[in-house]
């Protein structure tokens, strides 16, 4: 049936073996499966590889293109990096679930039709929930359930859209569309929920920080970036995405600035970074789509690196709040240096992968004359440095001396961090390595003296702003309300209110019915009862004569009725 090995299936098979095997064999498969998958990914030629008919629909489980291979490649690379980071610390079921989760992302990448697309999409939802649950705490359990509800809901909306498109257009191809009718809007909303777009961005910062230190590394990589790929494939140039993207960019910065939990800061900055990509997809030019794809690739690496750095700190100290941490550079130098490299990369410092990819998006905005978008993105670049670039390393590794003297990261965690750090710098110094795999020919020079100087000014003066405004940024033991308040509190209150009302109505009814029954019983008892003082009418012993008389009367009445 297939001329090539389906990469997603390779990965699922590997994930199952991880569960079945023990010891070194398991390690071999944790590290080997992503590499084997990577090989399979690069065997896939352009175009539809195989078609299967299912209920009159042509199913195209694998369709190759440079864009699809690029995303699948980074997903497989990330599965390898995450596996290396986690294999000695994570439980086997977390590793196994994470691999199937990655397989879902790779499956979506190659899905040529919407049905395949949907199946892999749901596979991701299910197994990412398992990864959240692997946090193992009551908080993780509850957050996992909220996460699952959100994603299953998103899946239902997506499915409604897919059914509509299938029926109304007769085609289930994954192809560019515009959100101009109910069906396509449903698909867009379904995809955007996974991209953590407003108004439901909160699912991300709610769930990811509850997972295990290793789990959040996997979680940060796949769901949102698969959504970005889906947007590139389905909605390139959809104008509404520009506004949504800009909102996400600013939302991420503001919430990250307010946050105290280290991984939640990083979670908000995922929303921020995905906002850049969503905005780029909305711009929709070749430069913009290249930028979105390149930025997604680079982002997965440095965001995972940041989560690895945070994860190593949490693994070693057990703390995850800025207020508890500080001064860790003394005993965790590798974690600190790698964290700083990740922080510089996310901020888009020259010579890091963030610079060579994010500036493409700004360039696309400039080329299209989008003044507002351009300046918002520039402000956001400054803001990223503020909330992730400095805030994260500063509060974790410097700030004050928390008195904590943990050991540095275990060797495998350190190796994964060094690997990703190297990639962040490699793509920053030699951007052509990435550019040649982008979907469109790249006509972009990242390193011009003027551009470098502009961004250096922008970023360094943001740094100045950070240190001057430090008193305003004193961490507090607080969380920030978000739209999830609506379903965690408001919905809860409404449900409780309904419950109380129904219950009180029920109780009132019960009393009334009870009273009525009581009254009835009493009245009936009056007639049937053989009471103490005087028996009821029907309970009395009647004399024969009276009975005969009554019978005579009744018979007369009967005869009369009969005759009349």
């Amino acid at each position: 049936m297939f001329d090539v090995l389906p990469p997603a299936i390779v990965m699922v098979a590997g994930a199952i073996l991880i569960g079945l095997l023990r010891g070194h064999w398991r390690t071999l498969f944790v590290l080997g499966t992503p590499l084997l998958t990577l090989w399979a990914i690069w065997q896939i030629p352009d175009g539809v590889v195989a078609t299967v008919n299912f209920l009159d629909y042509p199913i195209e489980p694998i369709e190759g293109s440079p864009l699809r291979r690029l995303f699948a490649t980074i997903f497989a690379l990330m599965a390898f990096g995450g596996g290396l980071y986690a294999f000695r610390q994570a439980k086997w079921y977390e590793l196994s679930a994470a691999m199937i989760y990655a397989a879902g992302a790779i499956g979506v990448s190659f899905a040529g039709d919407l049905i395949t697309f949907f199946l892999y999409w749901e596979l991701m939802a299910l197994f990412s929930t398992v990864v959240v649950w692997c946090g193992g705490t009551p908080g993780a359990r509850a957050a996992g359930i909220r996460y699952a509800i959100m994603h299953l809901l998103g899946g239902v909306i997506l499915k409604v859209g897919i059914e509509g498109v299938a029926i109304h257009t007769g085609s289930i191809d994954v192809q560019p569309m515009l959100a101009n009718n109910f069906d396509t809007w449903m698909i867009l909303i379904g995809v955007l929920i996974n991209a953590a777009a407003p108004p439901v961005s909160a699912w991300l910062s709610d769930a990811y920080p509850e997972s295990s230190p290793t789990g959040s590394v996997f979680l940060s990589a796949f769901t949102t970036k698969t959504a970005v790929l889906a947007l590139i494939l389905l909605f390139p140039g959809e104008p509404v995405l520009v506004g949504i993207g800009l909102f996400m960019v600013m939302y991420g910065i503001i919430y990250a600035l307010l946050e105290n939990d280290v991984r939640r800061i990083l979670a908000y900055s995922v929303v921020n970074q995905v906002g850049f990509m969503v905005c780029a997809v909305g711009i929709g030019t070749q430069m913009a789509l290249n930028g979105a794809a390149a930025h997604a690739f680079a982002h997965i690496l440095y965001k995972a690196l940041l989560f690895m750095s945070a994860g190593a700190v949490i693994y070693r100290t057990g703390f995850s709040k800025c207020t508890d941490l500080g001064g860790l550079f003394r005993t965790m130098p590798i974690t600190a240096v790698c964290g700083i490299i990740g922080a510089l990369a996310i901020s888009g410092f020259p010579l890091t992968s963030g610079f060579t990819t994010k500036t493409m998006i700004s360039q696309a905005a400039a080329d299209n004359g989008l003044v507002f978008v351009y300046f918002m993105l520039a402000a956001a670049s400054a803001g990223v440095f503020l909330h992730a670039g400095i805030k994260f390393p500063w509060f974790v590794f410097f700030q004050k001396d928390s008195g904590l003297r943990p050991k540095d990261a275990p060797w495998n965690m350190a190796a994964a961090m060094v690997l990703l750090s190297a990639l962040c710098i490699l793509l920053g110094v030699f951007p052509e390595l990435l550019y040649r795999f982008l979907p469109y020919p790249v006509d972009y020079v990242p390193y011009t003296a003027g551009k470098v100087l502009f961004y250096l000014q922008l970023l360094l003066f943001s740094g100045l702003a950070f240190f001057l405004l430090l008193p305003l940024m004193k961490r507090t033991l607080t969380i920030s309300l978000d739209t999830d308040w609506m379903w965690r509190v408001l919905l809860n209150r409404i449900a409780r209110a309904i419950y109380t009302t129904v219950a009180s109505i029920g109780i009132a009814l019960q009393t009334r019915i009870g009273e009525s029954l009581d009254a009835l019983r009493k009245r009936a008892g009056g007639h049937f009862g053989t009471g103490l003082s005087r028996a009821g009418v029907f309970a009395r012993a009647w004399s024969i004569g009276t009975t005969a008389l009554w019978i005579a009367v009744l018979l007369t009445a009967y005869v009369l009725f009969y005759l009349v």
């Binding site: 520039a378 961004y455 003066f461 607080t478």
Partner: protein, 87 residues
């Protein structure tokens, strides 16, 4: 423990030096614009020191907005009951 407390990076003298170094770098990035042409896509962004001013003030604005929103949005960290009741 004692020499850990006075880690060279945390000494006031070092921090003072770092501030000096940082200030020099900041001044240099602005001064470099005398020699390096920054292409402005929309006019203003090519002005002298625009990146510096824009970076600083957008950060100031974002911190203040966050601070203001924080008044409304911040809650105690145990606002949501942790665990099984809260789904």
């Amino acid at each position: 423990m004692n020499d850990e407390k006075s880690h060279w990076l945390t000494r006031p003298a070092t921090i003072r030096k770092l501030w000096w170094g940082f200030s020099v770098v900041l001044a240099l990035t602005v001064a470099a614009q005398f020699f390096i042409y920054v292409k402005g896509y929309f006019g203003v962004d090519g002005w002298f020191g625009f990146g510096a001013v824009f970076g600083f003030f957008s950060c100031l604005a974002m911190v203040l907005v966050a601070k203001a929103l924080g008044v409304v949005l911040k809650r105690n960290e145990d606002y949501y009951p942790a665990g099984d009741d809260d789904v």
